[in-house]
C-alpha cells in the first residue's frame, strides 16, 4: 500500500515539472554560457527524477509480477514436487518440453480449453447483449430508475466467495430454492441437479457468472450511453429514424469503444476464471466445470506437481497475452489511436 501511494506521489510531483520545462523552452536563455549544456543538465536532472520516482514501483512490479512469471516459465521445464528448493538448471529434474507435451494430450486440460471457449461464446452472445439491453432500458425515464440500477449492480459488489456459497445453496438438489421454485410453479420436470450433473454444471456456472457480472457491464454501457449527445438522437428522429434505426445507426456505433472494452474485460476474466468455480464446484463433477486456473491449482497445490502446474499457468498466460495483444492491435487500435492523437493535439 505504502509503495503504491509513493508511486502515485511520484507521478503527481513530476507533473509540475513538465509545464515548467515546456514554458522554459521558448524563452531563450539569458546567459550566453552554453544553452545546450543548460538544456542537457535540465534534461538529465529530469531523467534522474523520473528514474528515482519510478524505481520503487518498478522494483515492486519486477518482484511481484515479472519475477514470478519468469520463475513459472523456468519451472515449466522441470518435474518438481515443490520440496527441496527450486531445481538447478542442470539437475536431473529437467525434462524439457515434456510438461507441454503432456498438457496438450491431457483430456482435463483440453476440457478446460473447451469450457473456456463455451463460456466466452456464451458471455458474448448472452451476457453482454443482456447487459446492453438493460442499460438502455434503465436509461429511459422511469420511476425507481436509481433503485433498479443499484439492484442490478449489487451482485458485482458482492465477494465471489459469498456469491458462490449463496448459489451452492440455491442449486442444492433437495432443498435449493431453484428446484423448489420450479416445482412450485409446476415445472417439476425442469428441476435439475444443477451443480451435480456433468452435462448441466457448466451452464449453471455461466448463469452465476452472468448474475454476478452483467451489472458491471451494464454500468459501463450506461456511462457510455449517457455520453452520447441528445442532439444526435434528436436529429436522427427529425430525419425520420424510428427507435430501432436510432439504436442501430446512432447509439450502437457511438457505444463502440465501450463495447469493445467490455468484450475485452469479459474475455480476459473468463480465461482467468477461478474463485467462483472453486467455491461452487471445485471444477467437478468429474472435471465438467473445470477451468485452466482450477486445474493449475489442483496439480500444483494438491498433487504437488509444480512443474506441470507451472506449464499450465504458462499456457494460460500465453493465451491471455496473445488475445490481449491481438485485440489491442486489431480491435482497440482505432480507440487507442484516437486517444493518443488527441493527447498529441493537446500537447
Amino acid at each position: 500500500m505504502v509503495e503504491i501511494r509513493r508511486g502515485s506521489g511520484g507521478r503527481a510531483s513530476s507533473r509540475p515539472l513538465s509545464p515548467q520545462e515546456g514554458s522554459s523552452r521558448p524563452v531563450p536563455p539569458k546567459g550566453g554560457a552554453g544553452p545546450g549544456r543548460e538544456r542537457r543538465r535540465r534534461a538529465m536532472s529530469a531523467w534522474t527524477t523520473i528514474v528515482l520516482f519510478l524505481l520503487p514501483g518498478l522494483v515492486l512490479f519486477g518482484l511481484l509480477v515479472l519475477l514470478p512469471i519468469l520463475i513459472a516459465g523456468y519451472l515449466s521445464f522441470f518435474k518438481w514436487n515443490g520440496l527441496g528448493g527450486i531445481p538447478a538448471p542442470g539437475s536431473d529434474r529437467f525434462i524439457g518440453l515434456d510438461n507441454f507435451v503432456r498438457l496438450f494430450n491431457d483430456p482435463i486440460v483440453l476440457g478446460d480449453l473447451w469450457h473456456m471457449l463455451v463460456l466466452v461464446v456464451l458471455s458474448l452472445v448472452i451476457q453482454l447483449p443482456m447487459a446492453l439491453g438493460i442499460a438502455l432500458l434503465l436509461n429511459q425515464k422511469m420511476r425507481g430508475r436509481a433503485v433498479y440500477r443499484t439492484l442490478f449492480f449489487a451482485p458485482y459488489v458482492l465477494s465471489e466467495v459469498i456469491a458462490g456459497v449463496l448459489f451452492s445453496l440455491v442449486f442444492s438438489p433437495e432443498h435449493g430454492i431453484a428446484n423448489e421454485m420450479l416445482t412450485a410453479i409446476g415445472l417439476e420436470n425442469a428441476a435439475a441437479e444443477w451443480l451435480a450433473d456433468p452435462d448441466i454444471v457448466l451452464y449453471s456456472l455461466f448463469m452465476v457468472i452472468t448474475w454476478k457480472y452483467f451489472g458491471f457491464h451494464m454500468i459501463l454501457y450506461l456511462a457510455g450511453r449517457q455520453s452520447i449527445p441528445k442532439e444526435l438522437l434528436e436529429a436522427a428522429s427529425i430525419d425520420g429514424a424510428g427507435p430501432w434505426r436510432q439504436f442501430r445507426y446512432v447509439t450502437l456505433p457511438l457505444l463502440g469503444p465501450t463495447i469493445r472494452v467490455s468484450i475485452f474485460l469479459s474475455v480476459i476474466g473468463t480465461i482467468q476464471l477461478f474463485d467462483m468455480v472453486w467455491v461452487l464446484t471445485q471444477g467437478g463433477p468429474v472435471h465438467a466445470s473445470e477451468t485452466l486456473a482450477v486445474t493449475m491449482y489442483q496439480f500444483g497445490f494438491q498433487r504437488n506437481q509444480f512443474g506441470y502446474a507451472s506449464a499450465i499457468s504458462v499456457v494460460m498466460f500465453l493465451i491471455s497475452l496473445v488475445f490481449a495483444l491481438g485485440y489491442q492491435r486489431w480491435v482497440l487500435r482505432r480507440d487507442t489511436e484516437g486517444a493518443i492523437t488527441s493527447m498529441r493535439d493537446q500537447r
Binding site: 524505481l55 527441496g84 528448493g85 433437495e174 451443480l195 451435480a196 450433473d197 468429474v286 497445490f301 498433487r303
Partner: protein, 432 residues
C-alpha cells in the same frame, strides 16, 4: 528542491525496506530469535478447527507455557484443505512450522526426503511404548520415527439401525453380496442406501481401496507401492465390484456435486436420517452431529467393510489412518516436550471423552463412552493388518490420481481397466 530530496530519501528508504524483506527470512532459521535469553517460540499448526479440538489445544498450550515459562507456543488451527495448501507453500521456503499436523505416509516421506522433518526416534524413546504400535506405523521409515500420533482409527460403514430394520435387514452384511442385497432392500423401501460426497473425491476412494484390500489382500497394495503397477487383475476386479454397487444407483440425488460436511453434504444426509449409511472414518459420528445439528444418537451403528467372496484379503484387515504431529528439522527440544505433554493419558482422555479422537495412548480408551467408538477401537486392536489411506500412503501426485480416477469410475466416465491404467501411469512417471 526539498521535495525532490525528500523523494530521493523515500526511494532509498523503500529500497532498504524491500531488500530488508528479501533477506530477512534466512536469519530466522532456528525459530525464536530471542534464544540468547533462553526464550523459545514454537509455532504449532493443527487442523482441529472444530470444537472441542480448538479450545482443548489452546488450553494445553497454556498449561504447558505455565509449566515452562521460557516457552511460547503460537497455536494456529487451520482448516484441513487450507492447511494442506499452506504447507505446500511454506515447504518451498525450506522451513515448516515447528509442530504440524501430519497423516504420515507418502506426504511425510517427501518432506523427510527434502530434509524438512526431525528424526525424533531418540527424543521419544523413553515414552514411545505408551503409544499403540500400529498407530506409529505411518510415521516410521527405515526404523526411524518422525511423528507422534494422537488419534488412530479405521474406516467402516456407519449405518442407521432404524432404516435397516424398516428395510428388513436383520444384521449388518458381512459379505459383499449380502451388502449389495441390503442396498437393494433399502432401495425397494424407497430409502437412499448410501450418502456419498462425490464433490470431494477422497470419500469415493475408500470404496475402491477397501475392495482392492479385500480382493487382492494387503500384499497386493504393498506390491503396487513397490513396483508402481496397479494394472493387475486384483485392482481391475476391485473396480468391477465398485461398478456393481454404482449400477444399483445407491447414492443420494445430486451426490456427484455433494460435499462432505456442509449442511446438505454426506455427513448431514446420514445424520438427518435421509440415507441409511456412509463409509467413513472414526470422526463420522462427530461430524454427523455437527453438520446435521442432531445426529442419530442410539440409532447409529457401525460395521466393518464386508468380505469379498473369493478374495485374498481378510475381513479383519483394517483401512484407516493415524492423525499425528510431526516436528520440523530446526524445532527446539521443547517442541517434542510439548508432544510428550499432550500424549499423556490425562490429556488424551480429554479429547477421547468428547468422542473427538480414537485414542492411541494406552489407558486413554477407558474414557470412551460411545459404544460404536468402543467397537471400532476393538476392531482396530484386533486387526490382522493395517492399510493407510491411499491418498496419504502414496505421494500426493499418485494419491490425487487414485481419488480422481475412482471419482470418474463412480460417475461412469471411466472403466475399471482405465482406472488401473491411469493410476499406474501416474505412479510410474512420478517414480522416474
Amino acid at each position: 528542491m526539498t521535495w525532490r530530496r525528500r523523494g530521493i530519501a523515500l526511494c532509498a528508504a523503500a529500497l532498504l525496506v524491500l531488500t530488508g524483506c528479501g533477506g530477512g527470512d534466512s536469519g530466522d532459521g532456528s525459530s525464536g530469535g530471542g534464544e540468547a535469553s533462553g526464550q523459545v517460540t514454537i509455532d504449532f499448526w493443527h487442523i482441529g478447527t472444530q470444537e472441542p479440538f480448538r479450545s482443548v489445544r489452546v488450553q494445553q498450550a497454556k498449561a504447558f507455557m505455565e509449566a515452562n515459562p521460557n516457552v511460547k507456543i503460537n497455536v494456529q488451527a487451520i482448516e484441513n484443505d487450507a492447511f494442506k495448501s499452506k504447507m505446500t507453500t511454506v515447504a518451498q521456503t525450506g522451513k515448516l512450522p515447528d509442530i504440524f499436523q501430519s497423516w504420515g505416509g507418502g506426504v511425510l516421506k517427501q518432506q523427510i526426503e527434502a530434509d524438512l522433518v526431525k528424526d525424533i526416534t531418540e527424543d521419544i524413546s523413553s515414552w514411545v511404548d505408551t503409544l499403540s504400535p500400529s498407530s506409529l506405523v505411518p510415521y516410521q521409515f527405515d526404523g526411524k520415527t518422525y511423528g507422534v500420533p494422537y488419534s488412530a482409527g479405521m474406516v467402516g460403514f456407519w449405518y442407521n439401525k432404524k432404516l435397516f430394520k424398516e428395510a428388513g435387514i436383520e444384521e449388518p452384511p458381512a459379505t459383499w453380496s449380502a451388502f449389495l442385497d441390503a442396498v437393494k432392500k433399502l432401495k425397494a423401501k424407497n430409502i437412499t442406501p448410501i450418502a456419498l460426497a462425490g464433490g470431494e473425491s477422497w470419500t469415493g476412494h475408500f470404496y475402491w481401496a477397501y475392495l482392492a484390500m479385500r480382493v487382492g489382500g494387503l500384499d497386493a497394495l504393498k506390491q503396487a507401492e513397490a513396483d508402481n503397477n496397479f494394472n493387475t487383475p486384483d485392482f481391475v476386479q476391485a473396480g468391477k465390484h465398485l461398478r456393481e454397487l454404482v449400477e444399483l444407483e445407491p447414492f443420494q440425488p445430486g451426490f456427484l456435486g455433494a460435499k462432505y460436511n456442509t449442511p446438505d453434504g454426506q455427513a448431514a444426509t446420514v445424520g438427518n436420517g435421509k440415507a441409511a449409511m456412509e463409509l467413513m472414518g472414526q470422526w463420522a459420528p462427530n461430524v454427523q452431529k455437527e453438520a446435521s445439528g442432531k445426529g442419530l444418537g442410539d440409532d447409529l451403528g457401525f460395521f466393518p467393510f464386508p468380505a469379498v467372496e473369493g478374495g485374498k484379503g481378510e475381513a479383519t484387515d483394517v483401512f484407516g489412518g493415524a492423525d499425528g504431529y510431526a516436528v520440523s528439522k530446526d524445532a527446539p527440544p521443547a517442541a517434542v516436550e510439548f508432544l510428550k505433554f499432550i500424549s499423556s493419558v490425562e490429556e488424551q482422555k480429554k479429547l477421547t471423552a468428547e468422542g473427538a479422537i480414537q485414542p492411541v495412548v494406552k489407558g486413554a480408551e477407558e474414557a470412551l463412552t460411545d459404544p460404536n467408538l468402543k467397537q471400532l477401537g476393538e476392531t482396530v486392536a484386533q486387526a490382522t493388518g493395517f492399510q493407510l489411506y491411499l491418498d496419504q500412503a502414496f505421494p500426493p501426485a499418485v494419491g490425487g490420481q487414485v481419488n480422481d480416477s475412482v471419482a470418474e469410475l463412480i460417475a461412469g466416465k471411466k472403466t475399471p481397466e482405465q482406472v488401473a491404467e491411469a493410476i499406474t501411469e501416474t505412479a510410474k512417471t512420478e517414480a522416474e
